[in-house]
Amino acid sequence: MQFLNDYSNRELNIWAELVLDLIVSIYFFPKLFLLIISGDIHSNESIILITTTIFISIAYSIVVFTIINIFKESEKKDERDYIFELKSYKISNTIFQISILFLICWLFFTPLGNHYEFTPTLIAAFLIIITLFCSAVKSVSLLYFYRRSI
């Protein structure tokens, strides 16, 4: 409960986002790597894994964000919030662009004979990894900006 008192509604929402990223990572990545190792990445199992991950994210968001907004009064956004959001979006967007560039380079420089490895499922999995990472970076940088200015 002390944790709830120490943080504002906005900061708690950011923490919840960060925990969501962690939960998804813990659930998604080990199973994804197992599928890659076993060579089943192109099977229906990987589609089921991605769908389940998205379902878990939606269910978690509904429950946790509702609880936070019930127990902690929400605040109206002001100029400081918008500045911090812009800064963190800028950082996460830069990382997203660099990651996508790396993915494109990897695709581009892979020898022609190996291109069959890049199935839509595998590319979707990589995009989820990149999105998760960028989301975590955004949350961490936002928390950093809020904590630093108090």
Binding site: S8, E75, D78, E79, R80, D81, Y146, R148, S149, I150
Partner: protein, 69 residues
């Protein structure tokens, strides 16, 4: 953010204005209490619009509230 070049006298002016609370000032200025806390701690430089709003609330010239070092 680091060390701000813009200093302010908000805390002093609040106490001179019948010990106005941070929450009251935040409500009048249309910002959150966290923003007032950050301003008083000299860790946030407000926009020009917010600076004018705050000086209007205290009914003093802008340069009496904010100083540029």
């Amino acid at each position: 953010m680091g060390k701000q070049k813009i200093k302010n006298q908000i805390r002093r002016l609040r106490f001179e204005a019948s010990e106005m609370t941070q929450a009251e000032l935040a409500e009048k200025a249309g910002v959150t209490r966290q923003t007032i806390i950050a301003l008083e701690a000299q860790k946030y430089s407000p926009s020009l619009e917010l600076a004018f709003r705050i000086s209007k609330i205290f009914d003093v010239p802008l340069e009496e509230v904010f100083q540029y070092n």
